[in-house]
Symmetry: C2
Amino acid sequence: MNQKNNIINKLRGSGLRPTKQRILIAKKLFDKNKTFHFTVETLNKKINKNGSEKISLATIYNTVEAFTNAGYLKEILTSKNKSYYDTNIKSHHHFYDEGTKELTDINYNQVKLSKVPNPPKGKKIKNLEVVIRLQN
Amino acid sequence: MNQKNNIINKLRGSGLRPTKQRILIAKKLFDKNKTFHFTVETLNKKINKNGSEKISLATIYNTVEAFTNAGYLKEILTSKNKSYYDTNIKSHHHFYDEGTKELTDINYNQVKLSKVPNPPKGKKIKNLEVVIRLQN
DNA sequence: TATCTACTTTATAATTATTCTAAACTATAA
DNA sequence: TTATAGTTTAGAATAATTATAAAGTAGATA
Ligand SMILES: [Mn+2]
Ligand SMILES: [Mn+2]
Ligand SMILES: [Zn+2]
Ligand SMILES: [Zn+2]
C-alpha cells in the first residue's frame, strides 16, 4: 500500500485529486523500475485490455495532459501523426526508428555539444533535444 | 522564362510531369532567394488567396508529398498537430518558438557535436537534428 | 456524519489535419 | 492523332485529439 500512498501524495502535491482512474494510470506509468515511451493509443490498450477496469479514452487523454503539465511526463515530438510521451523526465535524447516507429533513449552524456547558438534576444532556451533518425 | 524551364527540368528529372499546378507551386516554393518554412495550410493560403489561380487542397498535399519524396523539401517534425516543411534541404538545425510556433534555422556550423552515440547494430543514422525550444 | 461544491469522468459530438476515392482531365509516348 | 498512364479534383473517409455537458465523486465544512 505504500506505492499507492506515494502516488496519492504525488497527485495531491500537484493539486490533482487522487481519483481511482488517475491512481490506476499512475501505477501503470510510474510503478515500473524502467522508464518507457508510449502513445495514448498504447496506454489505452495497456489499461483496457485485461478486461478488468475500464477507463474512458477521454480520461486517458485528460490524465496524460494533466500529468504532462504536472511534470510527471514529457511529450516527445517526433512523429507526424501521434504524440509520444516519455516517463523519463530527465533531459535526454532519442533515436527514432522510422521503420518500427520506436523511440529509444540516448543518455544525456552520450551526446556532447561543444557549441550551441545563443537564443534570439528576449527568448530563452527551454530545452535542447537531439533526435537521431534511423534507417536500416 | 528561364526559371520556368528550370522548374520543368527539375520536375522531369524526378519523373514528375510538369503540370500547371506543380509549376505554380514550385515557383512559390523555390523562386525565392531565401529558404523558408511552411505548413500545407500556409502554402494553401499563399497560393489561393490572390483570387487568381486555384489549386485544390488535395493537389497541394499531393505535390508537397511528391516534392518531399523527390528531395526538394524537408519535412520538419516539431509540432504536435501539423507537419512543417522546409525549402532549405541542407542539413541544419532549428529553433522552435512554442509561443509563435515559428521555426528558425540554425546554421549547421552553429552547432558542434563532439560526441554522438553509435546507432544500434543493423541500423544507420539517417539524420541528426537538433531542436532548441524557446520560451519568453 | 451529512451536505455542498468544485473537480472529474464519461459518452458522444465536434474539430482538425490528412488521406482516400473515383471520376474528369492532361502530358506525352507511340 | 490516339492511347494511356499519370494527375487533378471535389468530396468522403479516417485518425488523432479536443470540446460538451450530464452524471459522479473527493474533500471541505457544518
Ligand atoms: Mn494528423
Ligand atoms: Mn492531430
Ligand atoms: Zn526518452
Ligand atoms: Zn529550416
